[in-house]
Assembly symmetry: C2
Homo-oligomer: 220 residues x 2
């Protein structure tokens, strides 16, 4: 398999997920230079992802899977790891998917869209993402409201879904751990349970995969 | 199991999914009157869904699962149906999840948020959803752009993921089939492949479940 990888929160989610499975998939990493918009050029759009987005996973048969949750669930299914970052029963998997969707829609998505819809950052996309004016600040408020809610829900829990680490933790950590480089407020909310959880995620071996450099020339 | 059900696109997705599985789950339907904001009242928020949203599924052990994709995947796993609306191989399931996420993020979500952020409709929530001014029209444009892309991708295909019906079809049909009652433009885009696909979905037995009345006093 080939993983098309780059800077940014979405590829980081998949890298961290792979690291947490501790499984050898035989995945070759193909770096994509999003800073020069390589992902928006004909070659990538026509042969990898028609949406010009990263990451993407090319399966052994040549087919491409995009969308981070689909990629992570696929890797979970084909790994032979004991345990699972999705869950080992139908109920555990349902709880994971519930938390993944909550965390994404209530925090990760408004956080990312808040950034993408600042005039300054939007220029980076050179017209590939339309700027919606006046939405950045309200979306930041929405993300903070989502974090406040999660902060309460983390009370007495080690991980977002309870005592087991899941894709929900990896997703939120990947977004906060990469986006803070451009919007530092994501680590500066003062939400004590989120801070404690973030620090524990930061101490895991997988955290180094926030940095794309760790993957250079590696077979995962 | 108990399904907390109401008007709206999200509950419709789960109802249609259940109908398409053609499996008897023994689910009791509990109608929630969102028109009087029953879902925002203490009883529902404290005992069913802290987010005050519908649908929710109470499992046999009393635990609650929310979020439509988590509920549908759970029901798919516990049904004994041959075949599956998610997929029968890891690759099929990955393709379904990829299309579900694309359809939701590129069409369903901006379509719904466009409606929720009109002054007129937002009043309905009585403060439970903050109005973001000026984004309704840009979000409508975004949803239309998503539909235009999907229209191209549907060329030569029967369903969104190809030749098999999946949760992606059910999701988009449930959103278009309910939201058109308040924003008729969703059925009036002129996208020929989407129109053809919509008509074929409308002719399925499951389509009657767009209407909550079909569930009254039923065990699913």
């Amino acid at each position: 398999m080939i993983l098309y990888d780059s800077l940014g929160p979405n590829p980081a989610t998949v890298r961290l997920f792979i690291a947490e499975t501790q499984h050898s998939f035989g995945i070759k990493v193909h770096p994509v230079d999003i800073m020069s918009l390589e992902n928006r050029q004909e070659d990538y759009v026509n042969t990898v992802n028609s949406r010009g987005e990263v990451p993407a996973l090319r399966l052994a048969n040549g087919h491409i899977i995009t969308e981070i949750t689909a990629i992570c669930e696929y890797l979970d299914e084909v790994s032979e790891k004991e345990g699972s970052l999705i869950g080992t029963t139908a109920e555990e998997r349902a709880e994971t998917r519930m938390w993944v969707r909550r965390v994404f829609l209530e925090i990760c998505n408004p956080m990312t869209e808040s950034l993408r819809n600042t005039e300054e950052f939007n220029a980076f996309y050179q017209g590939h993402r339309k700027l919606i004016e006046g939405i950045s600040e309200p979306l930041k408020e929405l993300a903070l409201k989502g974090m406040e809610r999660l902060n309460g829900e983390l009370e007495g829990k080690t991980f977002i879904a309870g005592s087991r680490i899941t894709l929900a933790d990896i997703l939120l950590f990947a977004f906060m751990g990469t986006l803070n480089q451009v919007i530092p407020w994501v680590l500066d909310t003062g939400f004590n349970n989120i801070n404690k959880w973030y620090k524990s995620m930061e101490q895991r071996e997988s955290a180094k995969y926030l940095n794309t450099a760790y993957l250079k020339d590696q077979i995962l």
